[in-house]
Symmetry: C2
């Protein structure tokens, strides 16, 4: 295990791929990997790219990766997509999505289905970003579809968030105001040769103008045509500008220390919850409660309240969880 | 509150809409609603429809709803879509998605963003289905995009799951085998007038033939052209057949009692976790651990282990959580 980690940290692509798989799987091995990579992470920079299906996110990421490669940077691309079992993303994605980078040793492409981690690590995508970071990737792009809870978690784990929209999707930007204004550091209007592009840019700029000002950063709106290489340099420049603004204002350091705190809290919560769930499920005293609920005699919420006010029951779970913990030695 | 619930149960559409909003918001009010509706639920039948963006799911659901209406059934449609802040689904969706049903009092359409419930109820979509069920909806369609964790949770909460695919999406079905075979009760190949439809049907049938047999149900593959009204009757018939097979084999009752058990476990877990998180965050003894992690001196996983083996610390949280619970009286 430590040998695998050493090899990945030294730049071995195969070892890195295995490490990422271990982290995706979760469990005790994933924690060992994370413990090893954590102290080495922090040099890389992560960029989240989100937007609706068909907005051209993969193409944009491919072009941004090309610019990064021209600057001599090591690149990783993580495509985290809840629809990937349909599109084959998690399996075929590596080759299909970014043909221009597939043979480039300096670009590591990884697709992952966001099917939830089976255990140990609550936020897999953010852990995968840390693995890439520790293994020498200078810039890590994370592509997600939509803004469900999984996607929000991923976005919160990246340094700069780019929200990609396209003109003429038939809906006014006004309707999605709340959700997107919160998360966007940079807006992109892609497929800007389409009718309605100028209007969409103006609409976004108007909304940004009305929203509360941040003294350290004005969210820019960049018009791009990813397939025609139009606007990509400007987008890359705005991402760099945002990084600089984050660094100079001390916000990058604060953000990352907040992420570390979060990782700590989530890990403790997850452990305690797993312990308690195991105790509940194996507790014979619970049988009568389960029966009541399963038969439909009482609703789960009322029974949950009954259980949570039964101190002897809870005390018993905690006691047993404590004993187990003592036996394992942590 | 009880008046609102009574009105919704009596069929008042506005009251029902408010109830659903309360449940979506989560928190103590949501639990009160769920406590009230739970005993009344169980008569309705829920159908999950999932598939990639652009597969024509909304059109299919609209057509299925029409058939249900012709049979005199009360219908609810829940569109749970992680991309809805982009497509405007959660706000505009009610009118835009299903123009033919918007003025029909017998169809209640509700779009919801899957942005995670803020508190109290871990699985909002499944709770919303129960609300519709209790308020007299005979059939509840739940439309989701993709198969991320959120979507899997939703699908698990419905009685019959329909997976919609389209030919010529450029990828082989083989690649998504594992994910879809697990969840599909009925496969649909929509846009079956497109080239490759027959091949896709044959491919799916071949895979189903190879997969382990269930004695009580053979997963059918239905070819449809939703926009041309082709195959919809057959799809509706297969959904009814699946319902019948579930009922006759005793699996529907077992599934629902399993769901109730799950609702109980999730509610307890959620409550315990929330209690503990509050204690951790407000515990002054935690300051030194937070500092270590925030400064980067130690990684979160190692510190989490240190904390979880510090019995005095955990004992203290539990003691305080217990006292609070005693004060509140549950």
């Amino acid at each position: 295990m430590m040998e695998l980690i050493e090899r990945a940290l030294a730049g071995d692509r195969q070892a890195l791929a295995k490490l990422v798989t271990l982290v995706e799987r979760g469990g005790p091995e994933a924690r060992d990997v994370m413990r090893a990579v954590y102290p080495r992470s922090g040099k890389g920079y992560s960029v989240g790219i989100t937007g609706p299906p068909g907005a051209g996110k993969s193409t944009l990421v491919g072009k941004l990766a090309s610019i990064a490669r021209e600057k001599g940077l090591e690149v990783a691309i993580v495509a985290a997509d809840p629809t990937s079992p349909f599109s084959g993303g998690a399996i075929l994605g590596d080759r299909v999505r970014m043909p221009q980078h597939y043979l480039d040793e300096g670009v590591f492409i990884r697709s992952m289905a966001t099917r939830g981690s089976p255990g140990g690590l609550p936020r897999t995508a953010s852990s995968v970003v840390k693995v890439f970071d520790a293994c020498g990737k200078d810039i890590i792009f994370v592509e997600t579809v939509g803004v469900g809870q999984t996607e929000i978690d991923i976005i919160e784990a990246t340094d700069t968030t780019v929200v990609v929209l396209v003109p003429g999707a038939g809906d006014s930007v006004q309707t999605m105001k709340a959700g997107l204004m919160e998360i966007a550091d940079v807006f992109v209007v892609n497929k800007a040769d389409r009718p309605g592009a100028e209007y969409l840019v103006a609409e976004l700029e108007g909304m940004l103008h009305e929203s509360p000002k941040q003294s350290w950063w004005d969210v820019p709106v960049v018009a791009t045509q990813a397939v025609n290489d139009v606007g990509i340099d400007e987008l890359y420049r705005q991402i760099e500008r945002h990084r600089q603004a984050l660094e100079e204002s001390g916000r990058l350091a604060a953000k990352r220390s907040g992420q570390r705190r979060n990782d700590l809290l989530r890990t403790i919560e997850y452990s305690v919850m797993t312990e308690i769930t195991q105790e509940i499920e194996s507790d014979r005293q619970m049988a009568k409660y389960f029966e009541k609920v399963e038969s439909g005699e009482a609703d789960p919420y009322t029974v949950a309240r009954d259980i949570l006010t039964n101190e002897a029951l809870i005390e018993n779970w905690l006691q047993r969880a404590r004993e187990k913990r003592r036996q394992v030695g942590g």
